[in-house]
Symmetry: C2
Subunit: 91 residues, 2 copies
DNA sequence: GACGTTTACGATTAACGTAAGGATA
DNA sequence: TATCCTTACGTTAATCGTAAACGTC
């Protein structure tokens, strides 16, 4: 069981943004060179961490939930900030 | 061995900021209710992820390295963004 | 039945705490 | 020697992939 600690990872946010972009777990899995169940696990862990449902499961496919929509821009900013950190320090 | 993946965690950044604030691993460990070696591990993992040395070890104590100084404001912004995500979604 | 997501499960990897080691004052 | 960080090591928890199951088309 995962508590609502601060265990959030950049990998989780990256995975989330890819799934959101393609509205697909298996395409995100391809892009990440990961198995599809691993993507499911990452999203579930993220949903658990944040205490919200990010995607609406509708049988064959999925789509972003309202909360998921809200997370997208913030996730992008965090990822951007992370890359800024890397480039700032890589010199 | 830790590759330069995107395995960065919020916990690592939080730990980093606390260590930087107190210039002390063992005080950060207290604040985090963690053992001192765990703090060492987290910082080492972060240094590995980013490929830089964040603290200058000087026997008894430590201090921020130049790269560490650069990371502080960026880490603060990432943490702030993370909390914004939580408050935005908690409603 | 084909396609896409989830669950189950065993194996690999990472994180933690206790205890011991190393370095400085 | 007292203080603080690091290394060693055994244990516990998280992550992954394969295989099977479930739900829509």
């Amino acid at each position: 069981m995962r508590d609502s600690d601060d265990a959030l990872t950049i990998d989780q946010l990256n995975t989330f943004l890819l799934v959101a972009k393609y509205s697909s777990f298996h395409i995100a899995a391809e892009k990440l060179f990961l198995s599809q169940p691993s993507v499911t696990s990452r999203i579930q862990a993220l949903e658990n961490d944040l205490g919200v449902t990010l995607f609406v499961r509708q049988g064959r496919g999925i789509k972003l939930s309202d909360q998921g929509e809200k997370l997208v821009p913030i996730a992008k900013r965090i990822i951007g900030m992370y890359h800024k950190a890397r480039t700032t320090l890589e010199n």
